[in-house]
Subunit: 71 residues, 2 copies
Amino acid sequence: MGKPPPITNRVRELREEHGQMSQSALAKEIGVTRQTVIAIEQGRYSPSLESAFKISRVFGVGIEDVFGWVG
Amino acid sequence: MGKPPPITNRVRELREEHGQMSQSALAKEIGVTRQTVIAIEQGRYSPSLESAFKISRVFGVGIEDVFGWVG
DNA sequence: GCTCGATGTCAAAAATATCTTACACGCCGC
DNA sequence: GCGGCGTGTAAGATATTTTTGACATCGAGC
């Protein structure tokens, strides 16, 4: 599986700013697996638009406040 | 292929507002196939975060100005 | 020491997105 | 009529994301 996608994210920071929310807790809140959270945080792949929306909504910010585009 | 995802989009409107840009032209600009553009416009599936970024950048707007979340 | 929670790794399967190709239809200009 | 363009549909193949489950490590607390 190939290349790291040109997408940056601040999921980990936001998680910590949100009262030490754990990966498991975030995963449960957005309805995905802990594996998925780990992979996204590590930039192994970029999430679907749906997951991106859910994540940003959990933190109460916009998508572009969480994910960045290195184009 | 199951259910239509809870994601709305204004790709078609934006395309028309952008000087009658055709599906093919948009597809070429964002580096995907015309099929993909059609499927996204029809809401058959939600694009990847990467495609979403590319699309919104073509139109010079933010992701949330193109895609909406019906959560 | 032991257990627990949080994090990470690995690997395979399932689900979803994307590509390729081909065909069909309506509209417009020639 | 015919050709080109824009749009839509369909099927199969490939790629990517997501899930599942098992196991390893580290730090804190008992």
